[in-house]
């Protein structure tokens, strides 16, 4: 019998039909997924494979640490800026640089704008088509859609029957053109789609509204960082100097007009979250109330470093406090220390890298990675034409990070679980309100723990975090104005800009709340140059393959025991994978100690 039980409690059964999805689309980067389903079409084994790597950390070796932010920023153009932020934090930590409060507030606003932008685009443009059927929207009654819209969100101004009729007409003509574009070959007659046509039409309207509005949100980055995607950062602070009423204020990076412009974008984000995004997720989720699968490690085994300190460098003021929760015990939160060599470790037993001793994990400061692309003996196909992968061997470009050996999930749901468990008032009140609204619409009576341990819970937590981030930005903006009012216009600390002021050797760590979860960068600096650079990225945690003990990671855990309506159209798998917002370019990275040739290709 081909059943094995993992130490973290999953029964993996490989006897059923194997279903392969490659490429998994509507994600950042490239990914493959294979599952075995039993005779009742329930997933009994899940395998997730990262199918790309770019070797960015090798490229960083020997470069100026002040330049690193731009290189690592290009790890990902979707969560653009979060790697740059984490990088400048790591370098500042290593060199003992403290940035001025204004620089902190500006970086915070940029980070939270990214959260809002990324979460909104993820939900509407990457995730929604798992729940929303645009073809079905053609059957909607625009008047009934208008009534639904006004019920779901009375404050949203775009709710007239004529508005929905226009959108429907546009979609109809698009469909009738026979050129379905991005909607081509979707699973549109799959009964797994549960929304009534009116909800589909409302959601399609918001798909288009969100597409128009997301380009407005990021203009906050354009003011502070000059462009988006990939705004500019600076070790020691921010490059955008403030000049409120001095000579030549109009040509300065920041002046009254620029800051007003920023405030207008923040207000747009606040409104869209409250009036559209959060109500949409609750309304759509209520139609899928029976589908509480997909929980996996969600809300049970979770980790985050903590984020958004009110006072910079004081973790006790984190507005989303970090820690680790294990086995669903919300009463006990373990502290996390990214410097402790025993806590965060990466394993490569099932990854396309090799260690001298693969039974052990390595802390990122001591990380060694030697690529080793090889496939297991049970692989079907060839080394350049994989039909079915062998998960008993190496099977992914993603490593397996673990916290004290535990497989944990990271992301908005993890941050919300930690904040809820640690009594953050805003988060408790907001989450309870959202669940109240969900229960009312769905006619259910779910508590937070039950509801959040699901694919839907993951998607809801992301929306709530987006709303929270927008609200926090209002505070940040006022705090910045207040500082300026009190005469503090400093934006950069240049005391240690010059490498001649640096110690001969230094090491540092930077962490941030990336949209997909806790992000950490570890740097070693020697003689003014980068000696070693390691990123442990959210999708590395979530998309990790099995570790030496056989524990499965968050993607694989979330897929387990999910019923699939039609195995040949596995929309349920896409739902759960997308609920993590996978980012594969982020997750796959490599550092070779000597920067030597990294290719080693073999098939056993």
């Amino acid at each position: 019998m081909s059943v094995t039980t993992t130490p973290n409690g999953y029964d993996l059964d490989t006897s059923g039909q194997r279903v392969v999805i490659d490429p998994v689309t509507r994600i950042e980067g490239h990914m493959r997924c294979e599952v075995n389903i039993d005779e009742n079409n329930v997933i009994r084994n899940a395998v997730s494979t990262g199918t790309m790597w770019r070797g960015l950390e090798v490229i960083l070796k020997g470069r100026d640490p002040r330049d690193a932010w731009a290189f690592v920023e290009r790890i990902c153009g979707v969560c653009t800026g979060c790697h740059a932020l984490t990088s400048v934090r790591a370098v500042e930590d290593a060199l003992g640089i403290q940035i001025p409060p204004n620089a902190h507030l500006i970086r915070e606003m940029m980070a939270k704008t990214l959260q809002v932008h990324d979460h909104v685009v993820h939900f509407y443009h990457l995730h929604a088509l798992d729940w929303v059927n645009p073809v079905n929207a053609l059957k909607a009654d625009p008047k009934a859609t208008s009534t639904l819209q006004q019920m779901v969100s009375p404050a949203h101004p775009k709710s007239s029957p004529g508005y929905f009729r226009d959108i429907q007409t546009r979609i109809r003509k698009f469909v009738e053109s026979g050129q379905l574009g991005p909607f081509k070959n979707g699973y549109w007659d799959n009964p797994a789609y549960k929304l009534p046509p009116e909800a589909d039409l409302m959601a399609v309207a918001h798909y288009l509204e969100a597409l128009d509005l997301q380009k407005e949100f990021v203009k906050l980055h354009t003011v502070f960082g000059g462009k988006n995607p990939h705004p500019n950062y600076l070790v020691g602070g921010v490059p955008c100097a403030i000049n409120m009423d001095g000579d030549m204020s109009a040509g300065a990076p920041l002046n009254m007009e620029r800051l007003n412009f920023v405030k207008a974008r923040i207000d747009e984000m606040v409104e869209f979250n409250k009036n559209v995004y959060v109500p949409d997720v609750i309304a759509i989720a209520s139609f899928y109330k029976e589908q509480l699968w997909g929980g996996g490690h969600g809300a049970i085994n979770v980790m985050d470093y903590g984020a958004y300190p009110k006072v910079n460098y004081d973790k006790s003021t984190d507005q989303l406090p970090g820690g680790v929760i294990l086995n669903g015990n919300w009463d006990e939160v373990f502290p996390i220390d990214p410097r402790d060599p025993e806590q965060v470790q990466e394993f490569v037993t099932h990854s396309w890298y090799s260690y001298p001793d693969e039974s052990k994990g390595l802390h990122p400061w001591d990380g060694i990675t030697e690529p080793n692309y090889e496939l297991g003996a049970k692989t079907k196909g060839s080394s350049t034409n994989i039909e079915e992968i062998d998960e008993s061997a190496k099977y992914s470009w993603i490593k397996s990070p673990r916290w004290r050996g535990h497989a944990v999930e990271v992301g908005p749901l993890s941050r919300y679980t930690l904040a809820y468990a640690q009594g953050v008032e805003y988060v408790q009140e907001q989450t309870n309100r959202a669940l109240g609204a969900f229960n009312q619409l769905a006619g259910t009576n779910l508590d937070a723990k039950t509801a959040l341990n699901s694919t839907i819970g993951r998607t809801l937590a992301r929306a709530l975090e987006s709303e929270y981030c927008a609200d926090m930005m209002v505070d940040d903006w006022h705090a910045l104005m207040n500082n300026i009012k009190n005469g503090d216009t400093a934006t950069a600390n240049m005391d240690k800009w010059d490498p001649s002021t640096w110690p001969k050797e230094a090491k540092g760590v930077g962490v941030a709340a990336a949209p997909r979860g806790g992000l950490g960068h570890w740097i070693r600096i020697k003689d003014g140059r980068i000696e070693n650079y390691q990123c442990v990225v959210p999708t590395t945690w979530n998309g990790s393959p099995r570790d030496p003990q056989g524990n499965i990671g968050a993607f694989e855990a979330a897929l387990m025991n999910t019923p699939v309506e039609r195995p040949e159209e596995p929309v349920e798998i896409l739902r759960s994978l997308h609920s993590f917002d996978p980012c594969l370019a982020c997750s796959t990275h490599v550092m070779s100690e000597d920067g030597e040739e990294l290719a080693k290709v073999k098939v056993r």
Partner: protein, 354 residues
């Protein structure tokens, strides 16, 4: 029944008058005179939507993200009304074999008549398996689609030059598109990422005129890449007057003086950042206080620190030294791109032959 762009607009209640206004705005955005307005209008009235297969190799998706930021035209209008974005793994509903089937369907139906847009590049080391699509090397998918396409758009610095993963020592063997495909017309739209409105303007131009815009020797559209950022920078008068930022957040930084001494690569970077600017003209890096890092130039990752001055010219006066810097800059660009020029010349000769 295939619907034209004009019909879509009309159906949305847009008047003929507004439509023509839109066409003249488009013409203006493309730097074209009023005589082109009827041409654009005619194109939009009559054309079915051309299929685009948008493939992703090793990349970070910043080009796609930039594309959806376009304000004029809006990304939704490009996708719903101008082109038929049949394959784009970032946005498409289909996954797995249903996604891959679209490629063969498009080739069957539109062989030689669709556009291949490439974001990212193929890695050639590791048997190509550091970028796997459907169990196979991305390069296979790329070659297959390229064989059947009409023309190729190389989006961004990855597809155009290799970008960050091709920076030394280029561990995956990441290779720009024009070095693996040499029998198709290729337009490079470099930048990390390119400006959103530049991307959609390139698409709109191709749809309107049914040809590429005029390209420079490197294969970039002259309309957006024929000037250095420095040439039209709003801080240029400070360069000419010898007024420079000396350190971050100094008085000069607060007055918006020139960032040349802080390592700004504006004098050697060909792009439209200082003219079209970013995100609907909101700003651009220099306006926000950081120097240009030269992200649309070939190999910009390996040309020294962002903060290293381009040349070590001491304090200087106005015109003669500005020219001196300009001359030096041109020499640097010239040296770095000589190989490309030769390659491009061969390609252009081929294109003319077709």
């Amino acid at each position: 029944m295939t619907e034209t762009f004009y019909e879509v607009m009309r159906r949305q209640g847009i008047t003929r008058r507004s439509f023509l206004k839109y066409c003249s705005l488009t013409a203006a955005a493309l730097g074209l005179g009023p005589s082109f307005v009827p041409k654009i209008a005619h194109a939009m009235e009559t054309k079915p939507r051309i299929p685009i297969l948008w493939l992703h190799g090793l990349e970070c998706t910043c080009c796609s993200e930039s594309f959806i930021r376009s304000a004029h035209p809006l990304a939704k209008d490009v996708i719903l009304s101008m082109v038929s974005l049949d394959y784009d793994d970032t946005l498409m509903a289909a996954a797995g074999h249903q996604a891959e089937a679209i490629i063969s369907e498009t080739i069957d139906k539109y062989d030689g008549n669709f556009i291949l847009a490439v974001e990212g590049n193929p890695p050639l080391n590791q048997e190509g398996m550091s970028c796997i699509i459907a169990g196979k090397p991305f390069n296979e998918q790329l070659m297959h689609v390229a064989k059947h396409c009409k023309a190729i758009i190389s989006w961004g610095s990855c597809a155009s030059y290799g970008c960050v993963q091709a920076a030394a020592p280029n561990p995956t063997g990441a290779t720009p598109i024009h070095k693996v495909i040499n029998d198709k017309p290729i337009i490079k739209v470099p930048g990390c990422p390119p400006i959103a409105e530049v991307m959609t303007a390139v698409v709109t131009y191709i749809l309107t005129f049914e040809r590429f815009p005029e390209l420079d020797r490197q294969g970039r559209p002259k309309m957006f890449y024929s000037q250095r950022i420095h040439d039209k920078c709003y801080r240029r008068p400070h360069f000419d007057a010898g007024q420079f930022v000396e350190t971050w957040d100094d008085e000069a930084a607060r007055k918006g003086y020139c960032l040349y001494k802080m390592g700004c690569k504006g004098p050697t970077t060909y792009n439209a950042c200082s003219t079209i600017r970013w995100n609907e003209g909101t700003s651009f890096p220099i306006q926000a206080g950081h120097g240009c890092i030269g992200c649309s130039e070939d190999g910009f990752w390996d040309k020294g620190s962002w903060y290293a001055r381009l040349t070590d010219i001491k304090q200087f006066g106005v015109e003669s030294n500005a020219d001196k810097v300009g001359g030096t800059a041109a020499a640097v660009v010239g040296a770095a791109t000589a190989a490309h020029m030769a390659a491009s010349a061969v390609k252009r000769a081929k294109q003319k032959g077709e």
